[in-house]
Amino acid sequence: MLNSTHQKGFKEKALNLIILGLIFVTALVTYWLDQGYYVNLVSRVVIFAIAGVGLNLALGYGGMVSLGHAAFFGIGGYIAGISAMHFSESTSFIAGLDSTNQMLTIWLFVIIICALLALFIGLISLRTSGVYFIMITLAFAQMVYYFAISWPDYGGEDGLLISSRNQFLGNDTDNELVFFLICFTVLLLTVFLSSRIIRSRFGTALQVARMNDVRLATVGIRPYPIKLTAFVISAVITGIAGALFADLNRFVSPDMLSWQMSGEIIIFILLGGVGRLSGPILGATLFVLLETFIGGYTEHWKLFLGLVLLIVVLYANGGLMKMVVGEKQHD
């Protein structure tokens, strides 16, 4: 029995590597074939996957079903967009801060602001659980959404165009492959980071908080700060994904903050496998494939997405990961 457990663990690790390898190769090949559109499409998958990996930490491992992660995704996007705008206009931020178009500096801002906002939202939302938690995170995200709509300086309802992508050190981020490589590196880092976190002592506590918070409290660990910490880390990762997404599209709009966006990040996880390391990557891939190829025939492609989601939830509760490598293992 122990043996089969190890085999499954090995299979899952192998699958994780295969998925990442396939994504990398696809980007290389399409770039080599001079299909910039498809390279960007792979970057889109990678960015959605990062957002999903972020949410998975809260939703999959911590059992916190946040329907408000678009707030972090969108804020990450807006920080990237606003920085780019000020930089191109050579104006400074509200607080008189010099504007920058360096992604690394922008991401630092994203990390700080998303962490603070997640701390605030989490402090309040985590006093509730279940449906109430879902609704309260949704409510916070909606507040951010309407705030963005009603702030004309940064495009309001129309959104904000990014005239040229933010820069990553000295690299040409307008080159599709360079931009893909940046996204892909971030994905690798977040996957690695979350694989360390979930296997650490903190990760154990977080997962027990999901399974049985009475047990966690009984051994002397308060579930609330454990969950809050995970919620903040989760939000930060999703925020970075948002910053990349704005640069990819050279556009940010309140759509990135909408509840549909939150729902889509959840769908990546549901499709791929809740609480599985590669779940969101698989889910995001399937999502973008459906969006692109069925979306090419009909604008009602979400009907098919719904159908696929229905099938996965009904017949493979545990997502694609479960279909391929079987039940989740705890090492």
Binding site: M1, L2, R196, I197, R199, S200, R201, F202, G203, T204, A205, Q207, V208, M211, N212, V214, R215, L216, A217, T218, V219, G220, I221, R222, P223, I226, T229, H330, D331
Partner: protein
């Protein structure tokens, strides 16, 4: 009258007071579930609470563990007032417990359940990098405790796949991993087969010198074998407290609890 004589004899033969419950009162509307309960636990003893169903045992346990807030009264652990502390903090101060209905991380193995408790005792749950499952300091200590309860052979079994009885023993193991000052065991024998029951009785008998135990139990054989003191809870009131022999001899207890036969 009987109470005071028992208490003095206890304090000379047994150690100092570890857990003290004073005037604890809890009401749900008009119903008083805990009616100024005074009760204590001394070093080296097993003090058992018995009482018919609905006597308020679970509510009392809930208040001691920290899930239920009393309306008035106080609970003191080793001289520290814990009345307003949350569950986790009480555990860290040394209150270990097992539950009437198993409360484990069912998706984890028995070993991982104990390792979680070891990790909690070490006070190190905000480490984000090193894998916990292969952490030798957690494994070694967990294995020692599993061994002590003779459930080592089940260490790789998921808690969800353990028998009812083994889960109870695993809960005791988790509680011990906290190196508690006091053990609060809520019906640990319920659902155990006779051999396991006897095994657990022997185990607790040996354990009490190390950790005093406040026991809630229905199995009267076990209660009389194990207890140094027994208190009887009826309708939220402690009506009697004394040695097993005094309990057996008490007409009030007979009437209220053991039946007239």
């Amino acid at each position: 009258m009987t109470n005071s004589t028992v208490d003095t004899s206890n304090s000379t033969t047994l150690g100092s007071t570890v857990l003290k419950i004073e005037n604890l009162t809890k009401r749900y509307g008009a119903l008083t579930v805990s009616d100024s309960i005074n009760c204590d636990l001394k070093q080296g003893e097993i003090h058992t609470l018995i009482g018919p169903n609905g006597a308020g045992k679970s509510t009392l346990v809930g208040q001691i563990a920290g899930w239920i807030k009393p309306d008035s009264g106080s609970i003191t652990l080793n001289g520290t007032d814990i009345t307003n502390m949350n569950v986790a903090k009480r555990s860290r101060l040394g209150l270990g417990r097992s539950f009437q209905v198993s409360c484990l991380a069912m998706e984890l193995s028995a070993q991982r359940n104990v390792m979680l408790a070891v990790q909690a005792r070490q006070g190190s749950s905000y480490r984000f990098w090193k894998p916990a499952a292969s952490d030798q300091s957690l494994i070694d200590e967990a294995d020692k405790i599993l061994d002590r309860l003779h459930i080592s052979e089940f260490k790789d079994t998921l808690a969800s796949q353990l028998s009812h009885g083994k889960r109870r023993e695993l809960e005791v193991a988790c509680a011990l991993a906290l190196q508690p000052k006091v053990l609060l065991l809520d019906e640990p024998m319920a659902g155990l087969d006779p051999a396991s029951t006897q095994g657990l009785i022997n185990f607790l008998q040996n354990l009490k010198a190390e950790i005093p135990i406040l026991l809630i139990e229905h199995d009267m054989d076990a209660v009389f074998q194990l207890s140094d003191r027994i208190s009887v809870l009826v309708y939220g009131k402690l009506i009697f407290s004394g040695s097993p022999d005094q309990i057996k001899a008490s007409p009030e207890v007979r009437k209220a609890y053991l039946g007239d036969d």
